[in-house]
Symmetry: C3
Subunit: 110 residues, 3 copies
Amino acid sequence: MAKPATKLVIVTEKLLLKKIAQIIDEAGATGYSAVDAGGQGSRNVRSTGKPTVSGTYSNVKIEVLTDSRDMALKIAAEVSAQFFDNYSGIAYLCEAEVLSARKFCGPDGC
Amino acid sequence: MAKPATKLVIVTEKLLLKKIAQIIDEAGATGYSAVDAGGQGSRNVRSTGKPTVSGTYSNVKIEVLTDSRDMALKIAAEVSAQFFDNYSGIAYLCEAEVLSARKFCGPDGC
Amino acid sequence: MAKPATKLVIVTEKLLLKKIAQIIDEAGATGYSAVDAGGQGSRNVRSTGKPTVSGTYSNVKIEVLTDSRDMALKIAAEVSAQFFDNYSGIAYLCEAEVLSARKFCGPDGC
């Protein structure tokens, strides 16, 4: 039942969530999950000019499972081009295997 | 010191957490972690009939590290069979290496 | 554009976050992210003596992307040596590929 998939993870500033969700949607991905995150990056300053303090949860970690590696690369390239000049953020991939694909099925079938 | 392990990730509706924790426990896994998650799936509606709105954290992301791939598959199959007809959810695997196994040791030893 | 990296994940008690962040920083890693987590481990008691209840979010899941596997192993060994005798916790690795390294660039360049 297992199906290879690529997991794209984007950790960035929370205020970008909606815009990134739109990029994910437009790329044809079928869903994502988002989790509040704190942390510290090497820039050590946020776009607000305030230092990043560990323990504050003003970042978001977004995960997308894509059928193809190409789709993950496309989403990451678009997010990076639009936001990572001005906002802190990182995008990385992991290999995964989807066991239950039910969420990937829309109301019109799989 | 590193020991190969399988990481099972289940993202689903928060109200299922306790029941899934029980399935994990009964399968013989020694622990799990759970994180609040928001997101959007392709079903685009939740079991409550309300559309999923990104930014609401009514999902949960559960992670289980299992010694064997078989245990991960068994947990995922059971969760899928019990819940994924009626609730949105996804289960996937990643390969991992456990560095510190102390948490896997109970009061009676490892 | 993809660059191999090692993702180190540490799940442990929340009160250790600041100390672990310092270990990560001293090891030369350029950042980390932290997420509130609940869950249950096989010890089934926390250092406070209270049983771990799923659904309480008194744990933290810390993720560090390191250029080298050695750096990840070094951080995990240090965290384990300092804390895992007295606190519940687990450390594991996953392989990853960093797509956008902009966060790894400081104000003085990459």
